[in-house]
Amino acid sequence: MGRKLINDLIKKDIASVTIAVFVISILLTMVTEGFTSAFNLDSLGRTIAITAIVGFSQLMVLSIGQFNLALGSMAGVTGMFTAALMEKYAIPVLLALIIGALIGMILGYIQGLLIVKTGINPFIITLSLASIYLGIATVATKSEMYSNLPAGFRAIGKASVFHVPILFLITLGVAVILSVFMYRLPIGRQILATGASERAAYFSGIKTSGIILTAHSISGLLAGMAGILQVARLGSAQLSVGQDWMLVSFAAPVLGATILSGGKVSVSGAILGAMLMSIMINGLVLLNINSNWFQAFLGVMLLAAFQVDRLRLSFVMQKKI
């Protein structure tokens, strides 16, 4: 009975996702023209970068065993807000970015607060907030679009350093910080403990309310970041940013070894999951498949991810008789 099961399994999971990424990339290289073109790879890199951060945002909430259904709205609202700050109110880029990040964090904090204080089913709270946040932003901006953004800001989305998109570097930086946070700091352990069993965590002396607030706040921060980066990449801001991100936000971490019920996450897995998702969608585009079918495809991917998660769980929790 001596198995270091979880670590082994996570390694296996990551190995299999990596293999899948390679296999599909090779297939696409052979079957399509343009997959390996500089333009495509550059674009793909940027997509992966942002998708990964979206995945990180959901990962933070999955770690405590909950879902952030308001992720898309948080991203859209923060992106709009930051753009408005720069374009409408002429606030310097750096300051606007900091304020934007804070806004994202606050949106997440409010969500966590509602969950902790009201005891209402977290699904529904995040579901309602998705509408509420979007609604507030709609009312505030009257659905305007901001497309006159400072060049410095747009550079974040478009520029590269030695052919590596700045976006990608940002994502790697975030990944490193997140990894340290979850694996090497006490609070990371406490978050995972809370995800494994909230009551046991409480009785171990962990301040679980604070942990939940922290997880949601960081999720909001990351969602906001993703929204801002997407705006930078597109060169314009509209409220629809983030509205399509929900499924991918789950699929990426879950394909990448994060467990849905909480207690176990994998940051590197989330990046690989994001890669897998982005490459597959890129493939569909290159194969000239009608974009209307993408939705269906995403749904099937999520179902697959869900099945993988269940298989994983059944290996892990083999109870003794």
Partner: protein
Amino acid sequence: MSTLTKAPSKNKMLLENIKRSSNFSVGGVIILLMVILWVMKPDFFSQANFNVIAKIVSITALVGLSQMIILAGGGMNVSVGAIGGLVGIVTGGMMDVLGFPVVIAIVVGLATGMLCGVINGLIIAKSGSSGVSSFLTTLATASVFTGLNLGITKATPFYNLPETFKYIGSGSILSIPILLWVMLIVIVIFGMGFKYTSLGRQILAVGGNVKAAELSGILVGRITVISHLLSGLVAGIAAVLLVARLGSAQPDVGSDWMLFSFAAPLIGGTRLAGGKINATGTVLGAIVLVLISNGMVHLNIDVYWMNLIQGLIILAAVAIDRIRTINAERMGVRKSEY
């Protein structure tokens, strides 16, 4: 032994009171809303508008019923709208593009709804029928169904629908819209079904305590599939009625159904956690929702506020559900003395 001895009739009255109070209080809210609207805009209650409201309520109530069936079993169906959309375009397409007669088109449409439901049910049953699995599965299948919808229609509606079909949406019998008749019949069937049929009780048993249900020999997987089949069917009925009313099969039918599908039953007394439903309440809940949203349109409130208000409504509905649940627990967890 601890004493909770009351003569049966008194207990019966007690239970009746509780049930009455839920429909009672929602009814009160409805009256309040109507008064407010009447004061602010008296022509809200014109015959024409009443007619419109009745039709919207019919569809909303059916959407709520579709969700209620799944809530009864302790699950969630996030794909209610997606199924509706797919059924709508299949029905429309059969008449417009393939030229099938109305009856056949409707049958095929409803069959599509049931098939979608069965797919949901099978996947969820295979994944252990938990609440989380129903949420995630239907989240995914919602995308798949919507994707199929868009893929087939390429986002363009089917406009060419037979007059007989459109009559369903516009006609009345005994000055009551056909839509309303259909809704009432369906609601009564399901309301009675949950109370008086073995299947209905089995679904509620699964929602109340899945382990107890299993131990009593209930086949939870089978019940899951059947309840999702019924949910898909009802969502399909709602879609067919909506398409008839609109006069064209729009691919975006159902795109805004999700929040209301939860809000109507929850306001009406159905428990989010499962095991308890209130069919009449779902209709009352639908009335509340339609009064609010239709009222906002008449009061010229910006369409921009819609999202916000909808989100707040669902939050309120769940808060009410939570308060009700806490009250029910408080009603008497009486520990006997040593």
